[in-house]
Symmetry: D2
Amino acid sequence: MIVVMKTTATEGQVLAVQKRIREIGFKDHLSRGAERTIIGVLGGVYAELQDEFAVLDGVDTVVRISKPFKLASREVKEENTVVNVGPVGIGDGRLVVIAGPCSVDTEENVMETAHAVKAAGAHMLRGGAFKPRTSPYAFRGHGEKGLEILARARAETGLPVVTEVVDARDVELVARFADVLQIGSRNMQNFALLEEAGKAHKPVLLKRGMWATVEQWLLAAEYILSEGNPDVILCERGIVSHETGTRFTFDINAIPLVKRLSHLPIIGDPSHATGKWYLVEPVAIAAVGAGADGLIIEVHPDPDHALSDGAQSLTPENFSKLMARVRAMSLTVGKPLHPPLVRE
Amino acid sequence: MIVVMKTTATEGQVLAVQKRIREIGFKDHLSRGAERTIIGVLGGVYAELQDEFAVLDGVDTVVRISKPFKLASREVKEENTVVNVGPVGIGDGRLVVIAGPCSVDTEENVMETAHAVKAAGAHMLRGGAFKPRTSPYAFRGHGEKGLEILARARAETGLPVVTEVVDARDVELVARFADVLQIGSRNMQNFALLEEAGKAHKPVLLKRGMWATVEQWLLAAEYILSEGNPDVILCERGIVSHETGTRFTFDINAIPLVKRLSHLPIIGDPSHATGKWYLVEPVAIAAVGAGADGLIIEVHPDPDHALSDGAQSLTPENFSKLMARVRAMSLTVGKPLHPPLVRE
Amino acid sequence: MIVVMKTTATEGQVLAVQKRIREIGFKDHLSRGAERTIIGVLGGVYAELQDEFAVLDGVDTVVRISKPFKLASREVKEENTVVNVGPVGIGDGRLVVIAGPCSVDTEENVMETAHAVKAAGAHMLRGGAFKPRTSPYAFRGHGEKGLEILARARAETGLPVVTEVVDARDVELVARFADVLQIGSRNMQNFALLEEAGKAHKPVLLKRGMWATVEQWLLAAEYILSEGNPDVILCERGIVSHETGTRFTFDINAIPLVKRLSHLPIIGDPSHATGKWYLVEPVAIAAVGAGADGLIIEVHPDPDHALSDGAQSLTPENFSKLMARVRAMSLTVGKPLHPPLVRE
Amino acid sequence: MIVVMKTTATEGQVLAVQKRIREIGFKDHLSRGAERTIIGVLGGVYAELQDEFAVLDGVDTVVRISKPFKLASREVKEENTVVNVGPVGIGDGRLVVIAGPCSVDTEENVMETAHAVKAAGAHMLRGGAFKPRTSPYAFRGHGEKGLEILARARAETGLPVVTEVVDARDVELVARFADVLQIGSRNMQNFALLEEAGKAHKPVLLKRGMWATVEQWLLAAEYILSEGNPDVILCERGIVSHETGTRFTFDINAIPLVKRLSHLPIIGDPSHATGKWYLVEPVAIAAVGAGADGLIIEVHPDPDHALSDGAQSLTPENFSKLMARVRAMSLTVGKPLHPPLVRE
């Protein structure tokens, strides 16, 4: 961090900044220019510290140089992290596709979807047993019963299961059933949940907060990593903007930006980011083109009767077409699809 | 809700929509115009249902008419809700001011601040014992020890205490010490936390999510209300936008909009919304001008050494000046300040 | 501007940055710290230069310190600018209110409105003869005929006229009729128009671009000022955001922020910023509370039949009520309303 | 458009709405339901009309059904528009790539770039002679001299020229030199400029306003189309958002959304949308994946010394690598690159 003093700063103001730096246990480095004095701050600077120095008397600007995230940073770990889920290595240079219904509804539907997405080449099954819903009057998931249905779908198909956990108290329960714990957009800064996920012995799929910058997102990942869980998969799922023609704005820039800043794998969720099934395929292809390590796609055998998010769900038939296009793309971008799962 | 069919919709598509309406237990009302067929949907429509009908074959547009929130709605309850905290009625036509440090740091500082804000006319004490922080390396609060400090400050000054709860597991603990449970912006859609707060027997201060629309915010309040807790105080604290000169954008429009849509009291937080102490006073005055029922302001005896958010904290002296201006404003807007607390 | 080199920067990279600084005619100042080398850039740095240095080899971060605007800056001119329009000094410590229809429709309506707003205490008349409209099929104003109507309304009432110019070719024409040239939000970065306005001998009311940061807005003012026209009045009119319950988001923070950064007067437009007549009064009062030097309000004798923006127009009766509240506020904030105009 | 009356609407209020509909020359269609009365409005509804009905007494909600744009709409013209520029048909099922410097600086640089991008397979040359710049102190282009340089580059290479026009008064001048007139993001709602461009006999590349919704963008295109110029090419170039890690947010969703709503060709500008050269290639590939008809890319022989936007310009070498990847992608998505230009 660098503290730039005003041209009018007094000697006493400079000393006060130096004193404050030492009080918090950091080192200072003074540099006097022709017009201004600049004070370097050496130590583990965190995001809020910048604001706190910015208001000291005589200070003009405070600049952070080092990134506030460490364990998530590519500067700290240069090689890509590979998160292993059963036979699939996410981030290992091959594409992974996760598919399934938004919510777990009936066992029949989940089974049908699981078989269909597996047949189309998906590597993992997604499905919500605990659903965060904007309205308290909407369907909020079958809970543990839903987890059991997912487990049976895994037993039948061999597909590992990704499912959301919305409450720190449920991490242990969900981790008992799931292969990957999903943390949803609305919970990206639910720090209690991040910490529990950091203590769990299961990979975590961390969706971006719809309001979050890439830096805030990587700091949320840092919470999980700093608790000792290295297996974080990032998922871009759209941010809020002024555009009203789509549900969210898929931030395609974020994919290569994350790749540059971090070693963590990143996948794209075109279903939530668009909110319209007919936009899912082109945005999925785009995400792969931008360098994503995989996709998570909502599929439902009968979208018109899905208990949630039917508007953005693909039919198995459309999912199958999407997979054919993803397969072609995967070769073009040099990141082939993982082979289909074979039951051992 | 109204389903508008395309001009090209077939008879079968119209029937399919009607069938679907009945399947979910609602009633339909058909109206055939010169150009289009329109189908009214009668029943307790929730937010997601609109999207689900929008993708049915032959459907052009789906319009919600009734608001998705009910208990929070002024249509359901016309008179203003008054939330009583000790002797103070929030929303009773008089202004309330809540002030104190962002984080509880030392007992000395909290006591000093509590006495200072009380002397200046504040009615309640705020202070964070559990702090949500963007970075895992920033100070995250003293937890229960912080709650005890707040309780002692209340014992000494008589000021009721508002403090944040960030984890559904802590609601009982925090409710034991606090007079008002605060739910922060990042947790506005932490539905597990909302539900626990809804079961607590303490008023809840619900901050707006920095990404949330007013409608989503009122739906979050609906979670608390629908669990049986009628004492919700809304708090506008700024939304994300493209402006980088301030921390957030205080949505002043939201104050009169909430007043029109809902009977719940609403206060403003100019400290977080601006992020800069020198913008706090003018935005506080503006919030009162727009019709807010109160303010929550960060005050610290030594902002330069605050453990968090020093940049946006007022000194007791500046808070005192702000209170003088608020007092003058309160008479102009016909919403006088509550009288200062007198120890019984 | 300060160029912070990476810890890994080579000597050659440092030299290349220094060489580049001198090539563009600026001076450099080198400072070597324990970990990093920092290079100060002395000279008239503009906004884009930062990006251009940011991509040089070995550069970590580039920080602007001096503001990119100069003539608009309070650092360059400390005392408030007062823009005189007839007898009214905008920014002289008294509030100004500008009112009138969105579009000039019939002469009768304009006359009726002019008399009504004058009677209620407004100081200037607004009205659009040239209207920027999102759709080519909407009413776009009566052009010169509209200007003549406004001039007759001025002749009858003595109210100076504020009217929009949307085309650089029309500046001369509009300046012949208008007392103040308005540049609308959509044209805030129409630099050809800004330059012509800078050459005109009439004050300019510069609305903020709905996408612009405060810094970009002040740079737009800089265009006008740097052409030799010192009479710029800024107008906050709402920015785009994710909130859909109002037409735009009035950025109340911007008012005190502009006051700190610039000496130019600033007024608020609650009509466009909210898009709903019932939100106009509370947001107007808030703008005054935040320190605005005035207001611009849409008033129409028959909002239901206005040719544009009826939804956000006040009736003369509601405007009169608003003025009573503004009058009370103006005393509270110590910025009394200008006296009503008296015909000479 | 459909006007939904409140459940409490009186007979008189219904009649007043019907009367108003007829006054503006439209037809009304009444439908009385069990709970509500709904009034259909038949006629050429434009965007603002919705707001104007929304505030009438007794009205609950007003819904637009037909899109406000007509000539730009795929409902009106189902087959894709192909814009012919010399031998290149933009939107004809083959990809077009436009490349060149942000600003025209020296003739040598422009020539060198033109030859380099042609060699790499680009089909058209871009370059700014008139530059809109945020700061009045930044380089604003060589004007007519710049146009002459571009014309000489075309004469030497055969590449058609795309260049920006920022002033309605310059349309004729620029059209004399350019093959395609570019209208920049900041001028998307400069309606005077749109109209002049609509009268010009040259194709128009219309960039999206950084604040605009897709609907507002298509309405801007409607301005040009309705003046009689059918040759509009849309260009997505990023929108404003809260993300600060990139210059803008490339709205990838907009590409397939535009394809669905409109018959006009659409290309992507990853240079401005990201602001960082190292993000240009992945976002370019993504745009092609999402269905774009082409790309516009900033290339400069010496980005470190470019007169503008060096940070986001590719070197010819990096552009050549990008073209290799675009070529591979173009086959995968079934939209092959246009063949390289051969001088006749």
